[in-house]
Structures are given as C-alpha cells and as structure tokens.
Amino acid sequence: MSDTTQNGPMRAADGTPLKKSLARALRRQKLRALALIAPLLIFVLVTFIAPIADMLFRSVQNDIVADTLPRTVVALKDWDSTSGESPGEEVFSALAVDFQAAAEQKIHTKLGSRLNYENPGISSLFRKTGRGAEDIGDAFMDQFVDANAAWKDSETWAGLMGSDEWLAEQAEWVAAKAEGVKEPKFRLRDGIADALPRTSSTYATFARDTQSGTKSLVKTKPWPVFFVALAQDLATASPEVIASVSGDGAALLQEAAATAAGFEPFDYKAAFTDIDKGWDNVGNWITVQSYSARYTPGYFLNAVDLEKSPDGIQARPEQQQIYIKLFVRTMWMSMLITGCCLLLGYPVAWILANLRASTANVLMILVLLPFWTSLLVRTSAWKVLLQQQGVINDILVWLGLVDDGNRLVMINNQFGTIVAMTHILLPFMILPLYSVMKTVPPAYLRAAKSLGATPWTAFWRVYFPQSVPGIGAGSILCFILAIGYYITPELVGGTQGVFISNRIAFHISSSLNWGLAAALGTILLGAVLLLYYVYDKIVGIDNVKLG
C-alpha cells in the first residue's frame, strides 16, 4: 500500500494518519458540493424518482378489494375455491354489510370496474347488486317496526349500542351545536359485543362510516341489515345474556326478543342470488378471492398475457393476448427506426462536421428546424403526404407508376409510423454524431491515406471507430425515445403501427386501469435497463459521448 512506509502509516504534519486527514479534507469538500447541488437533487427526486417509484408501487398495489369488502375478504379466506361451490352464509352475511357500507359511499362500482379488468362482465354484477343490497333485510325491518315504531329511529339504535359515557358526550355535543366540531367518536356499550355480536359489529361499521363524513349518528337512518343481524343475534343468544344488556334500550330489546322468536331464519345467499345469479357463480368468487390481497402480481401477469386461474398461472385466451405482441412490435420497430435514423443521420453529420463553419451553421439550422415546429404539425404533414389521396400517391399516379385504383397504403400502418418517427427522431441521432465527429481531426484520415489506405479503408478502419461513441449515444437516445413515443404512432399508426405506449396511454386516460398501465410501464423500463446493460457489456458505456 502506498500509505504505509517501513515505519507504519504515513502521517500528516500534525501527526494524524495521512489517510484520515485526507478523508477529512475531502469530506468537507464533498459536503459543500452536496449543499450546492441540494436544490437540484431535491427537484430530481421529486419530479423524477418519485413518479417512477409511485409507478412501480402502483403496478403491484391492490388495496381496493380489501378496503371495499373488508369483512368479505376475511370470511373468504377459509373458502376452498376448488370445491366447486360458492361460499357459505358467513361470507354472504359479511358481503351484505360490506355492500351496505360500500353502496352508501358509492364505491362498489369502482371495485366492479377494478375486478372487471380481471373478469370481464363482473362490473355489472356489482352495479346491480349495489342497488339491490340496500334493500336486504327490508322485510325484517318492517316486522320490527310494526312491533315497535321506535326501531325506526336512529336515536333508539344509538341508545342501545352506544356506551353511557359516549351518550353523555353526544348529548352535550347536540346541546352545544358548535359549528365545525365533530360528533364525539362512537364507542360501543360494555358487554353488547358479547350479547349481540353481529348487530354490534355491523353497527360499529355503520358508525365508523357515518362519522367519517359529517353526518351525525342520531340523524342517519339505520341500515336494514341491522334487523337481520339483530334477529339472528336474538335467535342464538340466551335470555340471560339479553337481559344483561344495560341502558335505555334494554326493555325494547327484551320485547324484540319475543317478536323475533317467530321469524323465519334469514338466507343471505338466497337474497344475493335473487338480486343477481352471478353470486352463485364460482368464477366470480375466485376473482374476488384472488384479488383480495393488498399486493398482487395480477397486473404484471396481465401485462404479459397471463392470468391467474384455479389451476395456477396460465396463458390468457388467444383473442385477449395483445401485450406481448405489442412489446415485440415496439422493440423491433424502435430498432428499425433507430437504424433508419443512423443510416440517414450518419452522412448528414459527416457533411456537417466537415464543412466550413459558416455553411455548417446554416445546415445545422435546417437540422434543428423540426424542433421549432409542433410535433403535431410535423406528424400531420406526413398524413398529408402519405395518405391515399395524398401528395406522394398523386405524383405516383400522375407519373403512371401506380394505378389510380391501387393507390399505395402508406399511412395508418407500420410504414407510416416508421417514416414519421424516423423523421421526428433524426435530429436526436444527428446531434450526438455531429458533436463526436467534430472532435475527430481530419488529420487522421489524411494520415491513413498517406499510409496507403484507400479512402474507404481509411474511413472504415480509422474514422468510423472514432465515431462509434456518437453512434452509441445517438442510438440509445433514439431508441429510448422511440419505445416511449405515442403521439406519432397514435396519429399515423392505425391499428398495426401502434406501440405499447399507446396501450399505456389508453389505460391511463380511458380505461383508468392505472395498475396495468404501471405494470406495462415498469416492464418497458425494465426492458430499457436490460438493453442498456447489454449495450454496456458489448460496447461499453464509456464509449458513449454526447459531445
């Protein structure tokens, strides 16, 4: 090691080891440098790293099922999807409460759309059920209310379920009528959870949902499912337990127990299948169960044309397989476009680099001119040129090269995309090539010729290798821009010439399947990183020069 001599480590003037004092001096420098770039660093983090991280997260995130149907998800854990039968009463009773809560907040349709990505058609089941589920238990409610009209009132329920302290606080809050102060947070009465387990947990859900808004518990109509839960609780609980319930509602409860004794047992499953037969369908339940986890590989599977099924992961049906095809197309078309840019751009860059400065500047403006024109205008110009009644076809017909009846189809297909994209990306190839070629002195070519090389050998053996860093930079730039492009393919690509980014854009703005869009984006990002790695292995990333 260079820091050790025969007498041990080298020391600075004050006796500290040289390595340490050097590290200290460097650290101060580094900190100062870091402070200088801090604003930029934060900006980059916020505008660049954060969105990418968010995208990566969204591609696996799947909270919506567990958030919308919390009870159902828990109850469904024990359901065996291979049994061939839809789940039992327990799951359906959980579903009834979840649906009641979800319909109240109108979030069941969102869940329906989410699950529709995985199981087309399921969204109508959710929509229809949302309307019907609010009426589940109506018959029981009517019977209870017939027996005692007090059951209709929300105060009755609050008095029965709420703890005495909460009721006191609540009364105070009502008396004060203070603006902007929320109703005291609901607390269950002691012992009620043991006495009436179903009712109290349903009510607790009701209380939580209601209070999360600005509504008051005593002003919100009770859910019909309360009455089903109450009837079931009363049917199973012993009279002593019911008698142990304290508070104002105790007497009412005793009376209700007598009323409920005559009720038919309630069948949740039948109630749901009455609303829509879909609830008896095992496939629908498999979808709900498969996507009940908070993180899911589903979007990624979908993005590579696979799906989850009871038999494990398998390919999607033929007509639904689109993404792999699109990825492959995006890749090869981007490579072709990059190749076209290189073929066209190399000679241009060479001419620019070898002309007199004044002439080169004028030509450079021509190269940059496209940047001054809107992308839309440039792309639309190609429409005008390439379409069947367009300029090029007209000329070909006029020249007699093409029959008027058989005009060439040059737009709304892959050809159109390749032509328009090559045109748009050309400057991104020319600029790095030009700046690299500018640094290659003409003396090299002369030297090669003086050594006996023909002009072609001189170019190929001497000039070309030195322009490789520019080719690398230009190709990476063009390729990465190409695989992410979507406006141009959208406008001139038709159905055969669109890229994966058009699908991503579709899922972000039209189908609103952001998770799938994120998964597709993540795969695209991974592909780019992989290509970058391969490039680094083959050519070496040091061999990329932008100027």
């Binding site: 003396a443 010729k449 003086s450 006996g452």
Partner: protein, 368 residues
C-alpha cells in the same frame, strides 16, 4: 553531413512552376521551382503562413496544384491519389490512431498493403527497435509521452519503407531538450536509411542543424535555396539575412561599385566598404548586413586598414559562453556585438565610447 551537392544527381522530386490558390484571388504559392535529389534532406523554412504546409500537401496529394507540375522520380503525380503515392508522412500532432495500439498503428500501412502476418510483425518489431520503442508495442498512443508519440509517428511513416518522407513541423510540440535530441535522431535515421526527406519547420536552428539544403520560404516564394552554411554566411537578400540567425543592419545609399567592393554612404554620412550582393548601381538604397560575431572592437585584433565606426555602449549582457553588447552605431540603437567569453576578453561598460570595425567581405550590401 552528407554530400551537399545536388547538381550531379537526377532530381527525385521536382516542382515545376507550381502555383496554388485556395480562394481564386490570392496565390499562396507563387511559381515554385524546386528539385530534390534522392537521399537529400531538404528543409522548408519560413514564417508561418508562407505556404510551406501547402507545398507539402501538394506533394502528398491532399491539395492539388492550381498550376504547374510536380514530379516524383520523373513521373508527374498530379493525378495519382494520395494513397498510391507511397510517401511517408509525419504530421504535426502525430495523428496516431487513438483506437489502435502502437503496434496496430505501425501494422496499419503494412496491412493495407496486404503484407503477410509474420512479415508484418517482423517489420513492426524492427521499426519499433529502430526508434528504441520496442517495449511499447502494446500501449495506446494516449499512454505515451509527447516524445514517445513522436518516435512512433516516425516509425509508422518509415515502416513501409517509403522512398520519400514528409514531415510537417514534427517537433513543434516538444520541449527544447527533447526537440534537440529528436532532431539528431531524425537526421541519423534519414541518413542511415538513405531516404529522401522533406522537412517543414519555422525554427531556423532546426533547419540549420538538420538539413543538407534549406529552402527559405516567404510570401509563397523560395527566397533562397542553399546548404545551411551558405545560407548563414551568404544570405541572398535581406529577408534571409534577417530570418536566419541574428543580424545587424545599417541603412544607406550606394555611392560607387568597384568590382567586388561597393562603397556605401550610411545615413549619418559615414562611408563604408561592403560586398555588393544584390545592389547593381550607384544611387540605390541598400541595407547593409553584418553578423554580430563578425564585429570587432579590440584595436589589436582589427585588421590593418579596416574601416572603423564610432559606437556607444548601451547595454552589456552576460550570457555565460558569450557576452552580448548592445551599441548605438550610425543612429541604430539595436546594433549587437557578440564576443566569446575568453580570459582576455574585455567587458565593456555602458556609456563607454568605442571604435568598431569588420572585414569588408563580412559586410553585405543587400536590397533595402
């Protein structure tokens, strides 16, 4: 030095009335006539912009002559492309190919000539040994010092055994010591291998120490073509006298020309005897040139009957091996005398009044 006479040998390289214009308005090279014998080391010397590189480029084939003919070994080469001329070339910044190793650089001219691999390796090794760089074959040019790069460039220009080598200010980027060493190496190699060399420089010492013949360029013309000693001692005109070495000038008018003596009246009225070089008749303005080391002020050493002038010492500079004394002579305050630092040498004091003199043949009456 080799035999410097060029007269007997048939010319190997010939420029005949060559002219060159880049823009169609000004001639960069005006009527160049030059012949170089086989094995000769010719240097083109001249200030920057005088057209030296242009001449070299025309010879190499990278520029075409606007008018006139260039012949190589008796054949006109105007229409032969550069890669077929077989001329070795060393560029100012060496132009070593940065993406190839030293050995690959040297093998390049052999490869393009389709020379077999074993032959190639043999020749590359010999060329590297020739410039004492045998151990550096595997390095990249960027890993070499300036002097080493210079040697490689030289080896590369010689490895395919050309008969003619062109060098355009090859030592311009080196420091003084290295430059002197390389000057020696280049002349040694050129003479050992017997190749014809055209060397371009703007450094007169380089030109004088290396060449068989020096062509002094100015304004697109050869001002004088002569061996170094002739060039220094017998400059043909005042440009050459000024450009080569240090020179004192005195302005005057020719009074009389008698055989090989011209009587010149200096501007302060003094009459002196000179050797007429390019003055022809009385009344002509002339610039009289005397080398500083040919001026004598020690009375005892002055030749009998030598003409003397009054001079005042302005400055005395001690330079180690020599003393440099600046004088005012006939109104010229830049008149310099150089004397050897010998034990009996007088050290003049500023303000001293002295008498100076010189031999008439050392004092040349040139164009004004």
């Amino acid at each position: 030095m080799k035999d410097t006479s060029t007269g007997g040998n048939a010319a190997f390289v010939e420029f005949e009335h060559v002219q060159k214009s880049y823009d169609g308005e000004t001639l960069v090279v005006k009527d160049l006539n030059l012949s170089i014998a086989k094995g000769e080391f010719l240097t083109m010397l001249g200030p920057s912009g005088s057209g030296k590189t242009t001449c070299l480029m025309m010879l190499a084939g990278f520029e075409t002559a606007t008018h006139g003919e260039i012949k190589l070994d008796g054949r006109p080469i105007n229409n032969i492309p550069p890669h077929k001329r077989g001329i070795g070339m060393v560029f100012q910044n060496y132009a070593l190919f940065p993406h190839m190793t030293v050995a690959e650089n040297l093998a390049f001219p052999l490869e393009v000539r389709n020379i077999g691999k074993s032959d190639r390796e043999e020749k590359v090794k010999r060329a590297l040994d020739m410039v004492q760089m045998g151990a550096f074959g595997g390095r990249r040019p960027a890993q070499l010092s300036g002097g080493q790069q210079q040697r490689i460039a030289l080896a590369r220009a010689l490895v395919f055994e050309p008969e003619l080598v062109l060098m355009d200010e090859p030592l311009g980027a080196l420091d003084k010591q290295l430059r002197e060493h390389m000057q020696f190496e280049i002349t040694r190699l050129a003479h050992n291998l017997g190749i014809t060399t055209v060397y371009v420089t703007h450094d007169q010492t380089e030109a004088l120490t290396m060449s068989d013949n020096v062509a002094v360029f100015d304004d697109g013309r050869i001002q004088q073509l002569a061996p170094p000693d002739v060039l220094y001692e017998e400059p043909a005109n005042s440009f050459v006298a000024q450009f080569i070495g240090e020179n004192n000038t005195l302005l005057g008018t020719v009074k009389e020309i008698k055989g090989d003596v011209a009587v010149v009246q200096l501007d302060d009225g003094e009459l002196i005897d000179c050797k007429p070089v390019n003055v022809s008749k009385p009344g002509e303005r002339t610039r009289v040139s005397i080398r500083p080391e040919r001026v004598e002020f020690n009375k005892a050493r002055l030749q009998q009957g030598a003409h003397t002038l009054k001079a005042e010492v302005l400055e005395f500079i001690y330079m180690g091996d020599i003393f440099r004394t600046r004088l005012r002579v006939a109104g010229n305050e830049e008149f310099v005398v150089k004397t050897r630092n010998a034990p009996d040498q007088v050290r003049l004091q500023p303000g001293q009044e002295i008498e100076i003199g010189w031999l008439p043949q050392d004092c040349r009456a040139l164009d004004a």
